[in-house]
């Protein structure tokens, strides 16, 4: 089976978020870019399955929509163990645009399993995976917290409110994965980093596609009111505040 992982290039968790151009664009200066953590979990799971049997999973490809500066992140994915990468050379303007690009590539070269993280840590959209599956008219399963393949049989765990379901499904499909799919993301070994330079990174031109939404501007959250400190000897005061001021308990 061939697995495709949709990667998003996002700023590292500790980045200080700032905007430029009158708050219409994200300020990229000094930003350290990483693979979106959920996409990384998806990639890790795919590689784990490939380690178990490279007959069952014979190829793991990563795909991303982005400009040249995303290549170092793509190389990280290759260094961790992906076999090859595809970069669609375009700015990811919105999720529909991204999904269209990815599905156009898949229409020419279909994969058995397409995995996406449930959201990306930059725009928190949770939309690309679902859109790709609809554009390709294939099934999707969301909130996937486990994925197992035995021969041709694919079993997933899907999280539902207050529990989980065990689901079997056939390829091709899109799996939208979240926490639990894999525990420990991999780091690149020296060997992996060296081999990453030789693995294919195909850059392709974007297809005709439009964005359905437009990001007008950004704003930073207002400074939060300072925390009201209560003495540990006066817990009663807290209860009163919660009751009368915040009104969250009766």
């Amino acid at each position: 089976m061939k697995i495709l992982i949709c990667l998003s290039n996002v700023p590292d968790t500790t980045t200080k978020i700032r905007f430029t151009d009158n708050n219409t664009a994200f300020d990229k200066t000094g930003v350290q870019w990483i693979i979106n953590p959920w996409d990384e979990l998806a990639l890790t799971r795919a590689l784990e399955l490939k380690d178990v049997s490279n007959v069952t999973v014979d190829k793991v490809t990563v795909i991303t929509v982005g400009t040249k500066d995303t290549e170092s992140t793509i190389r990280k994915a290759l260094a961790i163990g992906a076999d090859d990468a595809i970069r669609i050379d375009a700015e990811p303007s919105d999720s529909y645009f991204v999904a269209t690009q990815i599905s156009e590539v898949l229409k020419k070269n279909m994969y058995d399993i397409i995995l996406c993280g449930i959201e990306s840590s930059d725009f928190n959209g949770s939309t690309v995976g679902g859109m790709v599956s609809e554009l390709l008219n294939i099934p999707s399963v969301s909130a996937v917290s486990a994925l197992n393949i035995e021969g041709e049989n694919i079993t997933l765990n899907r999280d539902i409110d207050g529990g989980k379901e065990t689901i079997s499904i056939s390829a091709p499909f899109v799996g939208i994965v979240q926490k639990g799919i894999s525990i420990e993301p991999r780091i690149a070994s020296m060997r992996g980093i060296m081999m990453a330079k030789k693995k294919p990174l195909n850059v392709i031109q974007p297809a005709e596609a439009e964005a359905l939404t437009e990001y007008q501007e950004y704003e930073l959250p207002k400074a939060k009111a300072a925390c009201k400190m209560i003495s540990p000897d006066n817990v009663k005061e807290l209860v009163e505040l919660l009751k009368n001021e915040a009104r969250v308990i009766q």
């Binding site: 590292d12 968790t13 500790t14 980045t15 200080k16 000094g30 350290q32 990483i34 290549e71 170092s72 190389r75 420990e184 993301p185 991999r186 780091i187 690149a188 070994s189 020296m190 060997r191 992996g192 980093i193 060296m194 330079k197 030789k198 990174l201």
Partner: protein, 433 residues
């Protein structure tokens, strides 16, 4: 005449067998990476004199240090006697050098003192190992074979020294029987104390005892010689070159890896999409997984190990209950080397049994090491345990990225934030405020 022929055959056979076994050890050592250690010749000779010949590191533990000097010096001095024994055996003479007269008597007396010293020290050692049960002889890696090996050596020494003394004792008594075979060289101080035990025995019995002891001793020596390549006792030969080829750099200095330096330079300077000049970096393994990834010096280290356990007993990880035992690392390396050697002998050079050092040494042991170098400091034959531990760790991290998850987290954080923790790079200077 027959006795001489038998003697010669035994001598030649034993020598040949010993030579073959040493050749195998040499071949095994050369399975390691070929590195050049030819610097600082004078410094190395001085070091060898101090540590190997002078036993400088043994003085840390004075009791065993003195005992060991007695055995070591005694062993060398008593074996000067071997020259006469060999000539006597080949040419059918008896105490050929007796013509030196009083000098001879004095010399043999000195030999006797040392023989007794060796015997005495070996008894003390047996008591320390088996009755007092000194802790460092009873760690987990000191299984039946290593303990038996040690006891065999000590008991053999005791028997061989006893044989010499008994031989001298009966020889002295026989001298008074005016047989021109038993040249009058007089009595010797230690063996004369045994003489009363032999008094009252007939001439024939005494001759039998004297001859028996003589043959017992020489056959014992030849047999022991051939036992040595299978035993930790090989250190008596290997300690000297092992110290000569020691790491001369400061103890805490870990070697650089030129292949990695090159790779880092490439990453910093070059565009990731431009393929770098490829070299045979494919074949070079980072770090050590198997014998062939270690250097010949590492392998010589493993054959030089005396299994004394000073390394393990000073290891802070071991003392606080971790699985790491530096001695075990060296013994396991030697065990793996022996297996690798046997595989070549039985199945040819290309045979790969699919196993590696990691089948004997666990990751838990390797990661417990604090790289403090207490082990290398204590080792009386200058074994560098750290070289093997660090190289095996390098393999785990650089080839397999199999470091413990806490360390992987540190790597990721350093890569993303420039610090081992999850703080923004921009906050680096907050601590100054």
């Amino acid at each position: 005449m027959i006795k001489q022929i038998i003697f010669l055959i035994l001598l030649l056979a034993a020598s040949y067998l010993f030579y073959k076994n040493v050749k195998i050890i040499r071949r095994n050592i050369n399975l390691g990476k070929d590195i050049k250690i030819n610097d600082n010749r004078w410094k190395r000779w001085v070091l060898m004199f101090k540590v190997a010949i002078g036993q400088s590191k043994m003085s840390v533990r004075p009791v065993s240090g003195i005992m060991h000097i007695l055995v070591y010096a005694g062993f060398i001095i008593v074996n000067i006697e071997m020259l006469e024994i060999l000539i006597d055996g080949i040419f059918g003479t008896h105490r050929l050098f007796a013509f030196f007269g009083n000098v001879y008597t004095v010399l043999v007396s000195v030999f006797e003192f040392f023989a007794f010293a060796v015997l005495f020290a070996c008894i003390i050692f047996l008591i320390r190992r088996n009755i007092l049960r000194i802790k460092r002889f009873w760690n987990k890696e000191m299984t039946l074979w290593p303990r038996t090996d040690a006891n065999i050596i000590l008991i053999t020494e005791i028997f061989l020294m006893s044989a010499i003394l008994t031989m001298n004792a009966s020889d002295s008594i026989l001298q008074s029987y005016a047989d021109n075979h038993y040249v009058n060289v007089g009595s010797f101080p230690v063996s004369s104390l045994i003489q009363p035990l032999l008094a009252g025995l007939s001439v024939n019995s005494l001759i039998f005892i004297e001859r028996f002891c003589w043959w017992f001793h020489i056959i014992g020596v030849l047999a022991f010689l051939n036992y040595i390549p299978y035993s930790k006792h090989f250190h008596v030969f290997l300690a000297f070159p092992n110290v000569y080829y020691s790491k001369l750099k400061p103890i805490g200095e870990i070697s650089n890896m030129p292949s990695v330096t090159k790779e880092v330079r490439l990453m910093l300077n070059e565009d990731t999409s431009v393929p770098a000049e490829e070299e045979e970096t494919e074949e070079i393994t980072f770090g050590a997984k198997n014998i062939k990834d270690l250097t010949w010096k590492n392998l010589m280290d493993s054959y030089s190990c005396t299994e004394c356990g000073r390394c393990t007993s000073s290891c802070p990880a071991n003392i606080t209950g971790k699985k790491l035992s530096p001695r075990k690392i060296i013994m396991d390396t030697r065990d793996r080397l022996e297996i690798a050697g046997k595989n070549i002998d039985r199945k040819g050079k290309e045979f790969d049994d699919g196993k590696s050092l990691f089948d004997l040494i666990t990751k838990e042991e390797l990661w417990a090491c604090t790289t403090c170098n207490a082990c290398t400091q204590e080792c009386p034959v200058n074994i560098d345990h750290l070289s093997i531990i660090v190289d095996m760790r390098r393999y785990l991290v650089m080839e397999e990225a199999a470091a413990p998850s806490e360390i992987n987290t540190i790597f990721t954080n350093i890569e993303n934030n420039g610090a081992p923790w999850q703080f923004s790079n921009e906050d680096r200077l907050l601590w100054t405020e």
